[in-house]
């Protein structure tokens, strides 16, 4: 095997950074923390690129098929023989791709934050948390053991919590961070039980062994899982669906998506990294990791498909009505992840049927670039106008030329305008859906049009619409070079990433899948998207009252969508009105009054008995004499009667 001994340094550098900055940063390192964090991550990113080059072009292939290479493995916690959490680093096409995406986007965010977060009191802490997140995410994507995935899964969750709550004095940020953690924790419960099921029946936690055992023809493990059932559903479906619940929570799929829009309370570069490009696609990644197993269970894949498709549509509808620019982007993220999800759902393992798998990973790859670009662009805008609301923006194209250009590129890419990266990946997804399920295709097509509409609504509202307000032209201008540079680099990638012959590198079975762009097929989506862009331009390019009129015409639907279909209210109702008063409070009351009452009752009963006995020992001779004679009398009576 080739030399991959440098790979552990990729996650280790951010970990070291976290420890050093976390302990010494605030007092001793101060403003140099940003530079230290950025430089160390740059090394990680370079190492990742070297690894990708080595894997894809030098020694990843064996007989024309990409192999899984275990670069590192250590038995970390042994539960039982063959059942252990191993800390391992596994290289395969998907994990190497993720390695590059995570380190690269993280590097861009580190760079951007140098300018964006300048002057913050807890600057060093911010970089420590960013490093922690990067470390956890890297550990997650390179994991070869299902429980290892879960561990790093929890760690990215907590990094996300810490970063959303970065402005800890703001009650809304605290509430958002708690919500994000608790909702994803609830989903992780499903993941955990899913792991317990898979481990029990598959008798291993190692992902490749698990896949091998379950996909082998008529293996004991497969038969065991397929025949054992619970509530009429096979254990295999239960296990896979529960694991997917965990994925759905992290990836903000309906109905577990409610945390994502609120998570925008965190600093904007954090949203770009965690809540757009990397952590939220972990659910997609998880399903992709276990894909050979999913593909033998049609029921579980159906759940994946429809959860994805419905979330894509729902989020796109809501996105059309939001006025906070970060929330629009958050819903668009949810919608795009829905795309990746159903693309996996319609795919099967191997060959032509694996198109959806390839398309999903491709979209994950391109999305990471254009979505982080959009978020960083939004960050630059917010940095300038000090507001998240569209109404405070408008006409910014002259003051922010670089941001304007970058944001336009991002919008075109996500809208699927031909020749930009999003176009290529979205086409593959639509094609996969078309070949598998026409209804899913219809939903996807409609969502694509909606996407183009709301993204250009966003674009025109920020950069055109009304004239720039006076206070915008203030002192710090468009931002520092460290903020502009990532925008430029990411713009180039948002345009160019689609030209990578993705199907040569990442497919469901590791061998090359020949794809060809079908011009006739592309007509419908492209025309629809262009029409939607034209509609957005007519409504939002100049200030007018048409949008309000349309909103009124939709009436209840518009209101429901702008209130996010009352999902938050529903959750609040369940927790505040049902769980707390009907479960928590009764238990607390029962404990204080019944259970403890019983114990106290026992004590006071003992005390009163002893009080009675104590009363007998009064120390008065007359009383004792009385007891004595009474006793003698009683005994005498007893004897007399007994003797008879």
């Amino acid at each position: 095997m080739a030399n991959y001994s440098y790979i552990p340094w990729i996650p280790l550098l951010p970990l070291i950074c976290f420890v050093v900055l976390g302990i010494f940063g605030r007092k001793h390192i101060g403003n140099a923390s940003g530079i230290i964090g950025t430089l160390s991550l740059a090394v990680s990113a370079v190492l990742s690129l070297i690894a990708a080059d080595q894997y894809f072009f030098v020694d990843g292939k064996l007989n024309g098929v990409y192999q899984k290479i275990t670069a590192f493995k250590y038995v970390w916690l042994e539960f039982a023989p063959n059942l252990s959490i191993d800390i391992s680093i596994v290289l395969d096409p998907v994990s190497v791709m993720m390695l590059v995406v995570v380190t690269f986007v993280s590097l861009m965010v580190h760079l951007f934050s140098l300018g964006y977060m300048k002057g913050e009191e807890r600057f060093a802490t911010y970089y420590a948390f960013l490093s922690l997140f990067t470390f956890s995410m890297l550990g997650l994507v390179m994991a070869g053991n299902l429980f290892q995935v879960y561990m790093f899964w929890e760690l990215v969750g907590v990094s996300s919590f810490l970063l959303i709550g970065y402005y800890f004095e703001k009650p809304s940020a605290v509430a958002a961070s708690k919500k994000a953690f608790i909702v994803t924790r609830f989903a992780d419960l499903g993941f955990l039980i899913g792991i317990l099921i898979m481990a029990f029946y598959g008798k291993t936690l190692d992902i490749s062994t698990l896949i091998q055992k379950l996909t082998a023809v008529q293996s004991a493990e497969y038969t065991g899982m397929a025949t054992a059932g619970f509530l009429g559903v096979s254990v295999l479906t239960w296990g896979l669906t529960l694991v997917f619940v965990g994925g759905a929570g992290k990836s903000a799929m309906f109905p577990l998506h409610i945390w994502l829009p609120d998570a925008m309370e965190g600093p904007t570069p954090v949203s770009a990294l965690i809540h757009a490009a990397t952590m939220v696609v972990a659910g997609v990644y998880l399903v992709a990791r276990l894909f050979p197993v999913y593909s033998i269970d049609a029921a579980a894949l159906t759940v994946v498909t429809w959860t994805g498709a419905f979330s894509a549509l729902l989020a796109a509808v809501i996105a059309c009505t939001q006025t906070d620019i970060k929330r629009v982007l958050a819903y668009s993220t949810m919608s795009q992840i829905g795309y990746m999800m159903f693309a996996l759902g319609v795919a099967r393992q191997g060959g032509e049927e694996g198109l959806g798998y390839m398309a999903s990973m491709f979209h994950l790859f391109t999305h990471a670039f254009f979505k982080s670009l959009l978020f960083l662009g939004a960050g630059a805008v917010i940095h300038m106008v000090h507001s998240n609301e569209m109404k405070d923006m408008g006409g910014l194209r002259k003051q922010m030329p670089v941001t304007h250009f970058a944001f336009l590129v991002g919008c075109m890419a996500i809208a699927g305008v031909p020749l930009l990266s999003g176009f290529f990946s979205k086409e593959e997804i639509l094609l996969a859906a078309w070949h598998s399920n026409k209804l899913v295709y219809g939903v996807a097509l409609f969502t694509a049009a909606l996407t183009a509409f709301y993204m250009f609504r966003l674009y025109f509202s920020i950069f055109w619409n009304k004239d720039a307000q006076a206070h915008h032209a203030d002192k710090h201008g468009e931002g520092t070079m460290s903020m502009k540079l990532p925008l430029i680099i990411l713009s180039i990638l948002a345009i160019g990433a689609g030209y990578i012959p993705f199907s040569h590198f990442i497919t469901s079975d590791g061998s090359v899948l020949e794809t060809h762009t079908d011009i006739v097929f592309s007509v419908a989506p492209v025309v629809l998207s262009l029409l939607a862009i034209a509609l957005a331009a007519s409504l939002y390019r100049k200030q007018n009252d048409k949008p309000d009129k349309i909103a009124k015409a939709f009436g209840g639907l518009y209101k429901a969508a702008s209130r996010k279909f009352y999902m938050d209210e529903l959750y609040l109702f369940i927790t505040k009105k049902i769980l707390f008063p009907f479960v928590g409070q009764p238990i607390a009351w029962i404990d204080r009054n019944i259970v403890d009452g019983l114990m106290n009752g026992l004590a006071s009963a003992t005390a009163s008995v002893s009080a009675v006995i104590k009363g007998l020992q009064s120390g008065k001779v007359q009383a004792y004499a009385l007891y004595f004679f009474g006793g003698v009398a009683a005994l005498a009576v007893l004897f007399i009667y007994l003797w008879k």
């Binding site: 916690l77 561990m151 605290v174 924790r185 992780d188 039980i193 317990l196 029990f200 928590g584 404990d591």
Partner: protein, 494 residues
């Protein structure tokens, strides 16, 4: 290695404290004594590992046996395996931290530190005893100081709490004693190893097991005998809370495992469903009850009820993995909850309130203490990298190996508690250390050196177990394997 050192050191320290003049001398001696204990515990660990690496396969190492009371076959018999050593290390760490946290306790300091040291002696003696009578003796030594510590140095309804705690624990001891008597009269000996070899008649086991298990269970906050925990903790001074939750509750868990289950495995197996039922109730019920608490100490006390439920659950599931998990959870909970109480004590001593509603934004003025609070919280909700994750996951994994449908159901409910835990921890942390800070707290000082040192000892333990769990796992596994051999025989006979 002379194991008796672990009893002699605290005894010696306690005696010197009695002759000290002034509060500064007292605390210096107490600290020196506790550091010596920690060093002895570390030395013991080294010796133990050396012996094991050299191929020593005895069940117990460093055994010492002296005749104590010949007529009743009572011996002073001590020895250790990996499980006891884990408990000893836990005790030593909590003792050092507890004494450091009490560095400024100048009210009746001589008596205070004397009692703390005495309590630690009871704990060490308990963990190394191989004779049931000496084990019981040390258990009692560890109970009495608690009553005084709460009654004299406590706060709030301290007389009521002290009385309640002492009465319930005494009641537990009485039950334990009946159980031990049963074992003694069946086997004719108080010797733990001997008793484990001589198979007790199943009928006798079925009669005496409930006494022993419930008795120890009261110490380990077994539902519904947990009600001494919240009141006791809430009234206790910080160090006493730390000792109580970090050490004392472990006496119960250790006893349930080492005495009740190990010596009477048939009965344990038959009553397993009751044990699991009570444990599951404790886990879920404790978690929901915690959610409703408004006082930081009550929060941690109720969460201890929930977390100690995992220990009982692991024992009740009766397999190698779950019992490993139970031991890991004892160590983890001991460190974590001591840290939690330490952090709460530090907050209380500055703000003079423990009510969550009155606190806020402490991260701004006391980043160190707030970080401790958050670390303890994250450990409690089972975040990887801290000990709680390791212990809980081992218990879950072990429990799931039990294919019975109802046990699976119990396991799922127990897993669900991790969500409730997240809710109450984040609610407490979100209000206490995050959010806007009330103006009156704006000039409060952060941790002093002694507090920092205490915290570092505990955090180091939590992180070490969390990051390198294989170390602790290797330490305890020979011990649990040996127990499982006895228990396994009982199960397979069915």
């Amino acid at each position: 290695m002379n194991l008796s050192l672990l009893i002699v050191l605290p005894l010696f320290t306690a005696v010197i404290i009695l002759f000290c003049k002034g509060f500064k001398q007292v605390r210096a001696v107490a600290l020196a004594g506790s550091l010596a204990q920690l060093a002895a515990a570390g030395w013991l660990l080294m010796q133990y590992l050396n012996e094991r690496n050299a191929g020593n396969k005895s069940v117990m190492l460093f055994e010492e046996k002296y005749n104590w009371f010949r007529n009743l076959h009572i011996d002073y018999h001590i020895g250790v395996d990996g499980i006891s050593i884990a408990m000893i290390l836990l005790t030593a760490s909590v003792v050092v931290a507890g004494i450091l946290v009490s560095w400024t306790m100048d009210k009746l300091s001589k008596e205070f530190f004397f009692l703390l040291v005495l309590l630690s002696m009871g704990a060490y003696g308990f963990f190394i005893s191989l004779d049931l009578f000496t084990l019981f003796f040390f258990l009692e030594v560890a109970v009495i100081p608690k009553f005084l510590l709460i009654g004299i140095w406590g706060s709030g309804k301290k007389e009521y709490s002290a009385m309640k705690l002492a009465l319930m624990l005494m009641g537990g001891s009485a039950l334990v004693f009946i159980g031990l008597m049963g074992i003694y009269f069946q086997t004719g000996s108080f010797d733990l190893l001997q008793a484990s070899q001589s198979h007790l008649p199943v009928e006798a086991q079925k009669f005496f097991f409930p006494f022993a298990f419930l008795g120890f269970g009261i110490f380990a906050a077994l539902f519904p005998f947990h009600t001494w925990v919240p009141d006791g903790h809430a009234s206790a001074p910080t160090a006493a809370s730390m000792f109580l939750a970090g050490i004392s509750m472990k006496l119960g868990g250790y006893g349930c495992l080492r005495v009740a289950t190990f010596l009477m495995p048939d009965a344990a197996h038959q009553y397993a469903w009751i044990i699991i039922l009570l444990a599951t109730i404790a886990i879920i019920y404790g978690a929901f009850a915690t959610m409703m608490q408004t006082d930081l100490k009550y929060i941690n006390a109720y969460s201890s009820v929930s977390h100690c439920g995992f220990v009982i659950l692991g024992i009740g599931m009766m397999n190698q993995t779950s019992i490993n998990g139970a031991v890991l959870q004892m160590v983890s909970h001991g460190l974590m909850t001591a840290l939690f109480f330490a952090a709460i004590g530090m907050i209380y001593s500055r703000t003079h309130t423990r009510m969550v509603a009155q606190l806020g934004g402490l991260l701004k003025v006391m980043p160190f203490i707030s970080t401790l609070f958050v670390i303890a919280g994250l450990c409690s909700l089972g975040l990887p990298g801290f000990s709680g994750f390791i212990a809980e996951m081992t218990v879950f994994m072990g429990s799931w190996q039990n294919p019975d449908g109802w046990y699976r159901f119990a396991t799922i409910l127990s897993c669900a508690s991790i969500v409730v835990t997240a809710v109450y921890i984040l609610r407490a942390a979100g209000k206490t250390v995050m959010g806007p800070i009330p103006p009156e707290y704006n000039s409060l000082p952060d941790a002093a050196w002694n507090e920092k040192l205490a915290a570092i000892v505990l955090v180091a333990g939590i992180v070490l177990v969390g990051v390198a769990p294989f170390l602790l796992n290797q330490l305890i596994t020979p011990g649990t394997e040996n127990m499982m051999m006895q228990i396994g025989k009982a199960i397979t006979q069915k």
